[in-house]
């Protein structure tokens, strides 16, 4: 890769040496517009040159001074803020910058304006007064090593130069060609005040709302780390500049900012408004004009000098010619308009669309996965996605998150971050994306939720891995759960993120909609695919309130664990071994029991794990629970009180109401242990079963009131034999039994 101009290109050994050389020699450095460099610099055909010229025209912000030929115009770029420039750069750096921008910052888009002696110093004096009004919050100290790691992983190197030595271990053994396109130089960062650099990195759109340096959502610490890395070589030695900051000089600088045209691209946000810059000549002058002014090979006089090289001048001239002859050049088809937008913001540095762009192979080595499972996704694991049809894929609210609000990232396994480009430049193009990506034949999906088949639990079954489920969770995680296989986009935000029509289109034929996707066509050819798509949608719409699918739901998630608390768990359910009116009592001691409120007797004891509440809490079918522990013991079926002393009936005899018992409910003691209340004839019984710590078994206590002669108590302990019920003076009888 060689071109005629000298720009800071990464070479195999120490790319930034080039910058130093450039500074030292004052070498010419043409402005770097990444999209132009990558797609248009060597364009042979006229249409491509014209597109390249238009891109330069937008990026160099020609329309800030000139009216374009024809009626249609392009928007000027949002202006770069100088509001706190005096805090960011010292006077010497400011003077050097304004005197000769491209020498100071090779590749800059800022043109050189011819200055009379002393004017650079006056400008610097004025700009130095533009400082933060309030003392900004202190920034944390940064770590060069962490900054290097961040710089090479969060996505900076999509546009800026990587360090070869920072290539991730996974790519270490591979050949390392330098990126084919020039990187956007970082020279200015060296001159920045550290704290200002940290703040700039955290929120670049605040200073530069045009979004060409997007926000990577760095935290304060991350920004401090990256700043430390960018300034790792230490502060540069400034050329000695004397800046006299007398009021007169400052006033002169302020006047110059206004009269030299700085305000075409900058805003000072100063309290005193500065008159706008005079407009340059209209560009629809005679054809010969395209060789003069800014477009002259060596601009003279008041014309700003962008240091355009021959390719760039040719492209600009071609674009101007096209503007004069083609009234529709600025009224492109939506797809072309999207392509122009992507070139301007350099979306192509990360995303491919219509076969153009995507991360360059030499830079792709720096895009890493944070979840080793994602290696099996190939390029889809570490590289940002192709933008096949985002205009019909994403909802407006998700675009908003992605492009300016933040919080729209859905690939937690990728280290690179989707940066925010700001609302100002992003919002106007959303409607164009939608038009560009429209389907010829609309997809119809019913997401009303009122069709019988649209039940969330059908969708849940489809998501899962059992009972005919499609197994979506093999790759897609949900809520706090990773998928059980490779990690792809978790589905939590599906209904906020995707348009339902796209959801359906994708599910019915993934490969056609996202060429190269690893998603299998699970629904293809299924007779009820349309309904199943709607079921999945219904489930995902309610996902935060729904039971996780089979496969992601861990067995035991609904397990009741009395051992974790000081008090027993009392739980009514259908229970194997204790019937449909069971009251299960889970004890922290691990010795559990169940009372059958229909038969009015203790029915079951067991030890260890208690119960799983899943079916009781979640299932419509309400499958009976069953004891999870060991030593499940069915207690004798007889009733506790009898009028005769005969042998217990083999089948237990009549129970509950048939035996004259009436269940009254239960009360919880101070320790939470329930006492069951029931009546039989005149007897009023309070029946408590609790773990007996002495024996390691159970102790049952019955308090009987109501009197009446001739009653016998038949216990449930293995060796129990009937004994008479004797009331004391207070009319109470207390009966106890313990076992094992």
């Amino acid at each position: 890769m060689q071109t005629s101009c000298f720009v800071t290109r990464p070479v195999r050994s120490g790319w930034w040496l080039g910058c130093v050389l450039a500074l030292a020699t004052g070498a010419e450095a043409a402005p770097i517009v990444p999209g132009f460099e990558r797609f248009h610099r060597r364009a042979a055909d006229v249409p491509a040159q014209a597109e390249g010229g238009l891109l330069l025209m937008r990026e160099l912000n020609c329309v800030a001074c000139h009216r374009l030929p024809g009626e249609a115009q392009v928007e000027a770029r949002p202006r770069l803020s100088l509001a706190e420039v005096g805090s960011r750069l010292n006077p010497a750096a400011l003077a050097a910058l304004v005197a000769d921008p491209s020498s100071f910052k090779p590749g800059t888009l800022m043109p050189r304006t011819a200055l009379a002696p002393g004017q650079a110093e006056a400008l610097a004096a004025y700009l130095s007064t533009l400082t933060a009004a309030e003392q900004p919050a202190p920034v944390p100290p940064g770590s060069i090593a962490s900054g290097r790691a961040l710089y090479h992983t969060v996505g900076c190197v999509a546009c800026h130069a990587p360090e070869e030595s920072a290539r991730p271990a996974t790519a270490a053994g591979l050949a390392a060609p330098p990126p084919a396109s020039p990187s956007v130089p970082l020279e200015l960062a060296r001159y920045y005040d550290r704290a200002s650099l940290v703040r700039f990195l955290q929120d670049p759109l605040h200073t530069r709302p045009a979004g060409r340096m997007p926000s990577s959502h760095l935290s304060a610490q991350e920004a401090a780390d990256v700043a430390a890395y960018l300034q790792r070589a230490g502060a540069p030695v400034n050329r000695p500049v004397t800046v006299a900051s007398s009021p007169a000089t400052i006033a002169e600088g302020r006047r110059l900012v206004s009269t030299l045209g700085c305000l075409a691209c900058h805003t000072t946000d100063a309290a005193t408004p500065v008159p706008p810059a005079p407009a340059g000549p209209a560009l629809d002058a005679a054809p010969g004009g395209a060789e003069r002014g800014c477009l002259a090979s060596s601009p003279t006089g008041r014309a700003p000098d962008f240091r355009l090289d021959a390719d760039q001048r040719r492209a600009l001239r071609t674009a101007l010619e096209r503007l004069r002859t083609d009234a529709d050049f600025l009224r492109p088809e939506p797809r072309l308009e999207v392509a122009r937008f992507m070139a301007g913001l350099n979306c192509y540095a990360c995303h491919a669309r219509d076969g153009r762009g995507g991360v360059e192979p030499a830079r792709a080595a720096y895009f890493e996965v944070t979840d080793s499972g994602a290696h099996s996704l190939g390029d889809m694991g570490n590289l940002p996605p192709a933008l096949d049809h985002p205009g019909r894929k994403l909802t407006r609210s998700w675009w908003q998150k992605l492009l300016w609000e933040g919080g729209g990232e859905v690939r937690p396994y990728q280290a690179a971050r989707m940066p925010a480009f700001g609302r100002a430049v992003s919002e106007p193009v959303l409607a164009v994306w939608e038009k560009a990506d429209q389907r010829a034949e609309p997809v119809a999906i019913d997401i009303s939720g009122r069709q019988l088949h649209q039940r969330a639990h059908y969708g849940r079954a489809l998501m899962g891995t059992q009972d005919g489920g499609l197994g979506c969770i093999t790759c897609h995680g949900l809520r706090d759960r990773k998928s059980i296989g490779m990690p792809v986009v978790p589905l939590d935000h599906t209904v906020e993120r995707l348009r339902p029509e796209y959801f359906k289109e994708l599910l019915l034929n993934p490969q056609a909609v996202q060429p190269g996707t690893l998603m299998p066509p699970m629904l293809m050819g299924r007779p009820k695919a349309d309904q199943e798509v709607e079921q999945l949608w219904t489930y995902l719409r309610e996902i935060d309130q729904q039971l996780l699918p089979f496969g992601l739901l861990q067995s035991g998630e609904y397990e009741l664990r009395p051992e974790t608390g000081p008090r027993p768990i009392v739980f009514r359910t259908f229970l194997d071994g204790a019937g449909l009116q069971a009251v299960a009592v889970g004890s922290p001691s691990g010795r559990h029991a169940a009372f059958d409120a229909l038969d009015v007797r203790w029915a079951l004891t067991w030890r260890g794990r208690f119960l799983d509440a899943l079916t009781t809490w979640e299932e419509r079918a309400m499958t009976p629970a069953r004891p999870l522990g060991e030593a499940v013991t069915t207690l004798p079926g007889w009733m506790p009180f009898a009028r005769t002393l005969g042998p217990a009936p083999a089948d237990g005899g009549p129970t509950g109401a048939a035996a004259g018992y009436r269940y009254r409910g239960f009360t919880l003691g101070p320790d939470g242990v329930p006492t069951f209340h029931y009546d039989i004839e005149t007897l009023r019984v309070e029946d408590t079963l609790r773990p007996d710590d002495r024996s390691g078994g159970y102790r049952r206590t019955l308090v009987v009131r109501g009197g009446g002669a001739g009653w016998y108590f038949r216990g449930i302990a293995p060796q129990a034999s009937p004994r008479p019920v004797t009331f004391d003076a207070a009319g109470e009888a207390t009966l106890e039994e313990t076992w094992p």
Binding site: E542, T616, R620
Partner: protein, 523 residues
């Protein structure tokens, strides 16, 4: 996810993500394409292109994250707090229901219940109906958590089949406790090591006098989720369209009556049954014919035409807020599960029997509406859960509050039957009364088949001629004189474009009057 008895007593909840999401607007966009749904639901104002000032506003409560707030019962306590049952078996207290719903505070009061589907406050205690019993919960030691679970009514049968839901209780003014019981649909539970249960009184309404036994009262219910009182203290129940129910009804529950579902018939042969065995059911009848031919068969007070007025009626609540909930005092509000909405009912007595009209009230709730209650300030609190079925809306469960904004909407306040037509009372005077014509009042009538198959189409539909009309001096009452009224039939009224004197369009333009009886002349 262990259930604990000791939880922090106060839980602050962050506001959930926006309830609207993307689903709802799109759902509605879809509905707009379906004329048979959208048109009958009839938002006249939208059709007329004017957007009336909202009369009611709806706000979801923030929910605690500890439990799924599938709210199945609501009781407003004397101190203004709201007690809530959750389907998973808990009772929670919403401490500050009148504050900003996004700052709702909750504490758990009871747990371990078996799918409670109703809650009421009666004589100083909370009562709920579990699968197998009515339970009174008390906090005797005053620590804010229930420690006493008294079984106050039980005795109905349970086979373990999923459909055996039990609802209530409500207490009537005489102190009688009422519950309603679903029929069993499908097979009983398989219980290892234990004998199964037997269904008993399934599909019945039950009543227990103070100090008495729980006894069967009326039969023929299918899935009578809603149980409530009107302002006079009479007991009403709602039921679900399905087998034997052509569409959803509102039933005045009266002893000895049979409302139609056949599964309850075997128990009419028990000695305790106050309902006479209706015998072998004839087939191929409309419900109007069934009422004439089947002994004991009673028609509901109101039919909710299917889809037009919901698909699955749920809770019942009577508005006795002294005007704090707008111009519908003493009317009933009825929830709907599938369409996630709240409907409104006006009742009147003709020949001693209730009948009346239903009207749309508020749709686009966030999930299936189960229960409603009125808070101290006259706003309505709505409990929701769509588990097991599906519903409109974007949530699986939740809790919302509906407040009257103070703005009186223009709509039908009441629709009364006369001997030869209907008397319509509007909430505001109509504009230009003298220019009203009968063609602005489209009436038709239809009924439903009484059959074992699920649901019924509208049957025997006829137009009803509106011959003339008269507007009251104050402009609020329009009396229609009609020909072709049919006793027993639902009379559907569709209002043409109407404006109020203050310039409002109608909020809803439909009403459905169940004309079981045509009043004698002179009413």
């Amino acid at each position: 996810m262990a259930m604990r008895f000791t939880l922090p007593s106060i839980i602050r909840t962050p506001a959930r993500r926006s309830a609207a999401g993307r689903g709802l607007p799109l759902a509605l966009a879809w509905l707009a394409l379906v004329p048979w749904y959208f048109a009958p639901a009839g938002r006249a104002a939208e059709e007329a292109g004017t957007k009336p000032r909202a009369a009611y506003e709806r706000t979801p409560y923030a929910l605690p994250s500890e439990s799924k707030f599938e709210v199945s019962g609501i009781a407003v306590l004397p101190d203004g707090r709201a007690a809530l049952t959750l389907r998973k078996g808990e009772v929670w207290i919403l401490e500050n229901p009148l504050d900003d719903p996004t700052r709702a505070r909750y504490r758990k009061f009871a747990s371990g219940l078996h799918e409670p589907l109703g809650l009421t406050w009666h004589q100083g205690a909370l009562y709920t109906t579990q699968r197998s019993e009515v339970t009174r919960m008390e906090d005797r030691d005053g620590d804010g958590v229930a420690d006493t679970y008294v079984t106050v009514a039980a005795g109905w049968g349970l086979s373990g089949n999923y459909h055996e839901y039990a609802y209530g209780p409500v207490f009537d003014p005489a102190g009688n406790l009422w519950v309603t019981l679903n029929v069993t649909i499908g097979s009983p539970a398989k219980l290892a090591g234990h004998r199964g249960g037997t269904p008993l009184w399934r599909g019945w309404a039950m009543r227990q006098a103070p100090g008495g036994e729980l006894l069967p009262v009326a039969a023929g219910f299918r899935s009578p989720f809603g149980l409530g009182l009107n302002a006079e203290g009479d007991v009403f129940a709602t039921d679900q369209q399905g087998n034997w129910w052509g569409t959803c009804p509102l039933i005045h529950v009266q002893p000895g009556r049979f409302y139609g579902h056949a599964d309850s018939i075997p128990d009419t042969r028990r000695p305790e049954s106050p309902v006479k065995d209706p015998g072998v059911l004839p087939s191929g009848l409309t419900v109007v014919e069934a009422a004439a031919r089947i002994p004991g068969f009673a028609l509901p007070a109101v039919w909710f035409p299917y889809v037009k007025m919901g698909q699955s009626t749920t809770g019942i609540i009577c508005n006795q807020t002294a005007g704090a909930f707008g111009p519908f005092e003493r009317q009933l509000f009825i929830g709907d599960f599938t369409l996630a909405q709240v409907n409104r009912v006006f009742l009147e007595k003709v020949d001693g029997e209730y009948q009346g009209a239903c009207f749309p009230f508020l749709d686009q709730m966030q999930s299936a509406v189960l229960q409603m209650a009125f808070l101290k300030d006259g706003s309505m609190i709505v409990g929701e859960s769509n588990r097991g079925w599906n519903s409109l809306g974007s949530r699986s469960f939740g809790l919302e509050r509906i407040r009257w904004t103070g703005h009186v909407p223009f709509e039908l306040q009441t629709m009364e039957a006369t001997s030869d037509g209907f008397r319509l009372t509007f909430t505001e005077p109509v504009a230009a009364p003298s220019s009203l014509t009968p063609s602005q009042f489209k009436l038709s009538s239809y009924t439903y088949l009484y059959q074992q198959a699920y649901g019924s189409p509208e049957t025997a539909t006829q137009d009803v001629a509106v011959d003339r009309l008269k507007v009251s001096a104050d402009g609020r009452v329009v009396t229609l004189t009609c020909s072709g009224l049919r006793a027993g039939f639902v009379h559907q009224l569709v209002l043409g474009p109407l404006q109020s004197a203050s310039g409002q369009s109608l909020r809803y333009d439909r009403a459905y009057y169940t004309l079981n009886r045509i009043p004698a002349a002179g009413r």
